[in-house]
């Protein structure tokens, strides 16, 4: 036996061994379609290979000679059918699932270990005004935060690292605040293969929380302030009671005769005492207005009457300083709906200021009214010291008088204009000033003629 022959025989044996042991159906047929060889595996189909040899195999093959290897494909067909069905089911399910994820307003992304976005929902795309395809392959820190490297902290990075959920809160440059949650997905090797990131826009929640806290802080501060002022008022009134009361008793000669000079001094004490009392009352007013305690009692008021009532309180002081009070009332504005006491207070403050700041002996204070659409306009014009342009802004602030000398020269508490402004605004109106330094000022306010 040559080496070649031996090798061929050996090969033949191997083939035979393989063929006789395969579960596939192997047969050899001639050109007439007659079985020459049938593998033992055919027994599984219920045929005895010995019976098949010499018989025609036309049922199985179509007129050619050769080696036929056939397989039982029944179960594979079934498997394929099941697979097709399951794929179809999966396709529908996945479609539904995506639609569902797209309805969620939160940002959903699926990220690979290099933090590249592999999938994103509609919410994520919409939050940056892009399409889903723009997001895929990108990085969330670049898309949302315009950064070239991951945010610090990045919950996705952390989830990859620790294999657990992680959370973070980040602000994006557009001012939005996000609550981020990363959820790891594990691969077959037990390592984190992907991370789902859920980003929720909590800007509104955060802002309303901020506003709520700020309101609480302000109302606490305002409460503390009005409590303090109420307390201070009480403490100031107690000693003032003795000062004014005893002075009054001496003046009334309860303690015997009083000479002219003593009487003059007593007048001075009383004037100062009463000034102090007015200051305290003004403080109460401010604290009342600021804590929103003042409720307006609106009624129909004659404009001419209320101006007369306000002037009565000032007339004496004006004539003592030789300052003329003039009225210029427009007939179209006869009545107004306002709080009588408060309107009088505003007018008194403005007219009193005008008299106070007029040059002694030469001034004129004019009170005028006009109808301005639905609004009534009251103006008080003086020929006084005027106001510098730069000082206008400070005019209506509490405790502001334009220079330290004013309270010494002109008296007053520095609260009158602030109170007037608050009261005008409570009526739904506004207060204005127009002035030329050295020539005089006009203070005006507009309030609705009718509250309806």
């Amino acid at each position: 036996m040559t080496y070649e022959h031996e090798a061929l025989t050996k090969c033949d044996e191997i083939y035979k061994l393989v063929i006789e042991n395969t579960s596939d159906y192997v047969s050899l047929i001639d050109e007439k379609g007659v079985y020459i060889y049938v593998s033992p595996s055919h027994q599984a189909m219920g045929y005895d290979p010995a019976d098949l040899i010499g018989r025609s195999g036309v049922d199985f093959v179509h007129g050619y000679a050769g080696l036929l290897i056939s397989k039982d494909v029944t179960s594979r067909r079934k498997e394929e059918e099941a697979l097709r069905k399951s794929e179809e089911k999966f396709r529908i399910l996945s479609q539904e699932f995506h639609a569902l994820l797209d309805t969620i307003p939160d940002n959903l992304t699926l990220q690979s270990p290099d933090l590249k976005i592999q999938w994103a929902n509609e919410g994520a795309a919409m939050s940056v005004g892009k399409s889903i395809s723009d997001l895929i392959g990108g990085y969330c820190y670049k898309i949302w935060n315009d950064r070239s490297d991951p945010c610090d902290p990045c919950p996705v990075e952390k989830s990859f690292l620790i294999g657990k959920q992680s959370r973070a809160q980040v602000s994006t440059p557009d001012g939005r605040i996000w609550e981020l949650r990363a959820v790891p997905i594990f691969g077959e090797d037990g390592k984190v293969s992907k991370v789902v990131e859920v980003g929720r826009n909590i800007t509104d929640i955060k802002n309303s929380e901020k506003i709520r806290l700020e309101n609480v802080r302000l109302s606490l501060a305002s409460k503390a302030k009005s409590d303090f002022l109420a307390n201070m008022s009480h403490e100031l009134r107690t000693p003032l009671n003795s000062i004014i009361g005893f002075t009054e008793l001496i003046k009334q000669k309860n303690a015997g005769e009083v000479n002219e000079k003593q009487m003059h001094y007593l007048e001075n004490v009383l004037t100062s005492g009463n000034h102090l009392l007015r200051l305290i009352n003004d403080i109460l007013d401010i604290s009342g207005v600021e804590s929103g305690n003042i409720e307006l009692a609106l009624e129909r008021i004659s404009v001419a009457e209320i101006i007369d009532e306000s002037i009565i309180l000032i007339k004496e002081g004006a004539s003592a300083r030789n300052i003329a009070l003039k009225k210029d009332l427009h007939p179209a504005l006869e009545f107004i709906e306002a709080d009588r006491l408060r309107l009088k207070q505003i007018l008194f403050n403005l007219i009193n200021n005008a008299v106070k700041f007029s040059k002694k002996g030469s001034g004129t204070v004019t009170i005028s009214t006009r109808k301005d659409g639905d609004m009534a306009k009251f103006s008080v014009t003086d020929t006084g010291i005027g106001i510098r342009e730069g000082d206008m802004g400070r005019l209506f602030k509490e405790f502001e008088q334009l220079d330290m000398g004013i309270s010494r020269n002109y008296g007053g508490t520095g609260l009158g204009l602030a109170i007037s402004k608050n009261l005008v605004e409570l009526h739904g109106g506004k207060i204005m000033v127009d002035s030329r330094y050295g020539e005089g000022s006009t203070f005006s306010f507009l309030i609705p003629i009718s509250s309806k």
């Binding site: 109420a230 008022s233 009480h234 403490e235 009134r237 107690t238 000693p239 003032l240 009671n241 003795s242 000062i243 004014i244 009361g245 005893f246 009054e248 008793l249 009334q252 309860n254 005492g273 009392l277 109460l284 604290s287 009342g288 305690n293 003042i294």
Partner: protein
């Protein structure tokens, strides 16, 4: 003779009220705190009680409530430095017959006392 009990913890203000009242012919008794006021009102029949609000221990409102449960007829007038918006209403609602704020206007004070004169 009209008998008045003045309840006041500030000695200067006490002296002032007593001076004013005595000059007008009132008979005046004084109490420096609420407990003293309650004791005095039990043993003496007053035509009028002038009550400060801020007092050591019981305050004027509490004292007045106690006095009113014992003797409903004696008028109690609040005489106080509490003069914030709403204080008048608060004290009248608490049972005071009248409310006067400090600092006192002496002539107004005397005018108001006229009606309690016997």
């Amino acid at each position: 003779m009209t008998k008045v009990l003045v309840v006041e913890d500030n000695p200067l203000n006490m002296e002032l009220v007593i001076e004013i009242l005595q000059a007008r012919g009132f008979t005046v008794d004084e109490a420096l705190d609420g407990e003293e006021a309650i004791k005095k009102a039990e043993t003496e029949d007053y035509d009028l009680i002038l009550m400060d609000i801020e007092l050591p221990g019981l305050d004027g409102v509490e004292v007045t409530k106690i006095l009113k449960t014992k003797n409903k007829t004696t008028p109690v007038v609040a005489l106080t430095s509490y003069a914030m918006k709403g204080d008048r209403e608060r004290f009248l609602a608490a049972g005071f017959n009248e409310y006067l704020s400090k600092p006192l206007d002496v002539s107004d004070f005397l005018k108001r006392l006229e009606k309690y004169k016997k």
